[in-house]
Each structure stands twice: as structure tokens, then as C-alpha cells.
Symmetry: C2
Subunit: 318 residues, 2 copies
Amino acid sequence: MHDLTIGGELGGTKSAAILLDGAGNILNEFRCPTEAERGREAVLENIVAAARAVAGEDFGRVAAVGLGAPGPLNRREGLIYQAPNLGWQNVPIVRLLQEKLGRPVFLENDANAAGFGEWALGAGRGTKDMIYLTVSTGIGGGLILGGRIHHGRDDSAGEVGHTIVLPDGPLCGCGRRGCWEALASGTAIARAAAEALKGGRESRIRELAGGDPAAVDAAMVARAAREGDALAREVLDRAFYYLALGIVNLIHLLNPEAVVICGGVSKMCDELFIPVRRMVAEWAYAAMVRDLPIVPAALGDRAGVIGAAMVARAILRD
Amino acid sequence: MHDLTIGGELGGTKSAAILLDGAGNILNEFRCPTEAERGREAVLENIVAAARAVAGEDFGRVAAVGLGAPGPLNRREGLIYQAPNLGWQNVPIVRLLQEKLGRPVFLENDANAAGFGEWALGAGRGTKDMIYLTVSTGIGGGLILGGRIHHGRDDSAGEVGHTIVLPDGPLCGCGRRGCWEALASGTAIARAAAEALKGGRESRIRELAGGDPAAVDAAMVARAAREGDALAREVLDRAFYYLALGIVNLIHLLNPEAVVICGGVSKMCDELFIPVRRMVAEWAYAAMVRDLPIVPAALGDRAGVIGAAMVARAILRD
């Protein structure tokens, strides 16, 4: 009986595996260093070892392995185009792992995998259409529509961070101006605070950064805001304003049943849900925000591995 | 043998019906005035008469009727909540028509129906994910994702016209500022030109409007631009800029296989495709715009009835 599924996650420094039964219960978990510095073969052996370790003597019951990996990648060809953290280019990971594991392996973008995990067994459970947002260094996303990950033509859908919300706004890492992540991500928060400090503004943030504006990060801004610092409050208010604006746009476009938010910024500033919900409720069409959950993710750092396993299950079932 | 499908469209002044065979061929068409002023019963009788007339002696072969109607409506309950053009409120149109026609009737928002028509048999044929945009008085849309209309929780998905592309931008009819349709629709074009005229700008548009800025419409601006008028050119360039910007956002979010554009503005200014394609290609991720068709709709005013018929077929098939 092949009733178990393994979910794996391939990270720049750490990797993880989880074993799920047919009801979505977690039977076992395993974490290990990725050891990218030891080269591709070592990384692959680590993944294989993690998969075997997490299943143990039940490996014979494993139907498939889902693997979440950083993009860009090609799901259908099972190919990781580029993983700068791993120093990889064009690695046919699915074929390599299938050979070593003797099980079907399915590849998924790590953000989509985490979003699918939250949809299947986390904060979006029971919905049909869910928007998953990671607000962290950048803003990423996963769109679960009709109970499936919406991939798009090139597996590139969900580039929410690079939708433009303020034409001619601040320069984004991608080279465009006014991208959502240039206004509402952790990087944007840190940069706005650093610029104000360089302009001479007095703020608790300066102390927290040891006097060096270049050392400011979003966590310092969040901490200073909690301590009542005016600049920190302004910077966060502006970021939350744009966060809410982008969420309104997604709601108007996709009319989801839930918006699930995770990532560093949402964890550091968990009070963000209050102003963001208020602004979204004020700006969006009433019918589309009525009883709409805008909520933190529920699975923590297990979302990716759980989602990867559920992706594999969904593909087998189809 | 029930191999035929009727598609109907209920408009404020005109209604239409079409008869499709199983291969999507148009076997017959019928148009009639809606006669909203004669009351609800008369309108219903006109639809029934149109459906019977378009099928003629083949009515016995009709499997189902799809009906495109203006929203807001509830597909699942077969209810038109409000149709101001018809003076209707909470009309259970599906039940009423099923009783009169003796066939399953399926209701769909008219913009979605037209988009689905273009996807099934028009400019988006053969794609999986297609964005359909109507750029006219407002900007509306339909999202065909994975070969299905994406409806969302409240059947309200695709409110693309009310995604905000310029915070604190011009006031929109919906009360928000900087909505896409406040910057790139026919109404936005007419308003921008009228404001420039009120400000004293010399322009051919003034003549075309008989000297009255309040009389300006987008067609006059388009005509003046073709005649080389500088103000008209500026106004259109700005509208096309925002049109392209909104399309880039949709592409980054949904990574479609085609963007199909219809509506008054795209017809009046068919040259818009050239600058819009150029800007989109410049701004969007290269992989996501490579060989991406951004094209005019192909079915003209038949898109809605064809789409309504195809919606009914798709539901029966599911």
C-alpha cells in the first residue's frame, strides 16, 4: 500500500523532509544542512538521505516525493534553471532524485509549495481560492485558484512583488520603479528608515543600528516602533499603507476566500494585520471583503515541506 | 440527440441569441430589441422567443442555454441582483427561463461570457490562461485560467478596472482615486482632454466638440490624434502608458498565454497595440512576454453569445 507522501524542501543552507499519511497527518520530520559548499552530488545525497530517514522502515509505503526548491525552475521538465544559493544551473533534479529514490518526484517552486501547504492544511484550509503572500526581504506569492496552484505559462505566475503600485516610485531591485516590494517589503522598510536617518532625523532606530544607517534592518524599525519612536511609526505606516493597497488590488482581481500572509515582516510586526485589515475593508468593494480572512500563515516553517508533499499527492490523484 | 447549444445575451437595449453545434459552428443567429420599457415579462418573452427562433425546428436538439447578462448577479442561484438598464432587482432569471424553455439555463456575467467566447473560439483559442480586457467607458475583464472562467468567491473576480495603479491619482467613478479605469478608459481619455481644454489649451479637439469641453468623447480625441493634434497625442500617450502598466501587472501576476483586448477604445485607437506592446515588452520580465500575444478580440459583438453558449457546454461537460 502506497499511502504515504514525502515532502522535501531544498534551501540554501538547510533542507528538510516530512512524511505525511493519507489524511495529512505528520508522521515524521527530518532536517539537515544542505551542504551546498560540498557540491551538487553531496547535496543530492543529503536529500536522498533525508527522504530515506524521514520514512524509515515505511519507505516502501511512499507513493511519491514532492520537492520545493528555489526558482527559477521548470516543473514539467523537473529542472532547476538557477539556484544561486546552491551555485546550480540547469540541474535535472527530478530525474536525478527519481533514479536514486525509485519513486515519482515532483518539483515545485518553494513559495508555491508553502502556499499550497497553507491552503491544504493551514490557514487557508477549506477555501477554493486563496492568495498567499510572503512579506519578507521581498514580496512573493502563490495563487491557489480553484484548489490548484496557478502556475501560468512559464511557471512564473504570482510575481506579486513586481506589480507596480506607485509609478515612478522608489527603485526596485529588479530595475523597475514603484514595485510593490520596493514599497512594502522588509527591504523597503529598512531603506526608508535609513534614508531618513541619513537626512538627519532623530530616531531610536539610529541607536539600534549602532549609529550606522546602512546597518538598519526591518526588525530594528519594528522594535523602535514598539518603543514609540515616531520615525519608525511613520515608516511602518507607509509600508502598511502600500501593503493594504496591493492586497486590495489582488482582492479586486481575484476575489479570493482568504489572504494568508507570512514572512519576516508579518512576524516582526504582527500588529500589521490590524491596520491592513482596516484599510482593506475601507478601500475594497464591501461584498468582496465581507468576512474575508486576512490572516497569518498557520504552519510556520513546515508550510513548505507539507505543501510539497500535498503537491505530490494532488498530482498523483489527478 | 442533444448536440446543440444556444447562447443568449441580455442587453439594455438589444438582445441576441446564437445557435452552436457541437463543433462550435454557428448555425443561426437572432437579434431583437430587449424592450425593457415594456416590463419584465415582456423581456422574458423576448428572450424565449429569440431562443426558439434561433433554434427553429432544431429546438429539440438543444441541450442547454447559456445566458450572458449584466451584473451583479449570482450564477449559482441563477439570480440577477441588479440590472439598472433593465430596471431589474433580484430576478430569478434562470428559474423563469427554465420553466418557459424546458432546458437547463446557465447564467454568466456578460464580460466573462465574452471573454470565454474569445478564449474558446476567438483570439485566445488554444490557450490555457488568457486575460480578457474591455477598454471602453470603463475597463472590465475576464480571467480564463486553466481553461475556466475564474469567478472568485462572490462571482466578482476580474474587477481589473478598480485595481489602483496611481495612488492619489484622478478620482474614479467608484469613489477611489487612481483606479486603472480612471487613467486608461475612454472616460479617462475624454476627461483628461476636457480638462486641458478648460485650462485653455488649443486643440483640434475643441472644434470637434463644437467648442464645448463637456462634449468631448474619446472618439474625438482619437480622431484629433490621427489628424496630428498635439494635445490629443499627449492624452492618448498617457492613457496608453497606464494601459501598458496595468497589463504588465496582470502579466506578472498571472503569467498568461494571451492578452485579448476589446472595447470602444481599442477599436477607435487600434494603433494602441503598437505602443502598448512596446512598453509591455520593455517593462515586463522578458520570459513572461516572449511571444506573448497582446491582440484585439476576434469575434466582434458575437463574443458574448458565443461565449454564453460555450459556458453552457462547458458546464454540461463537467
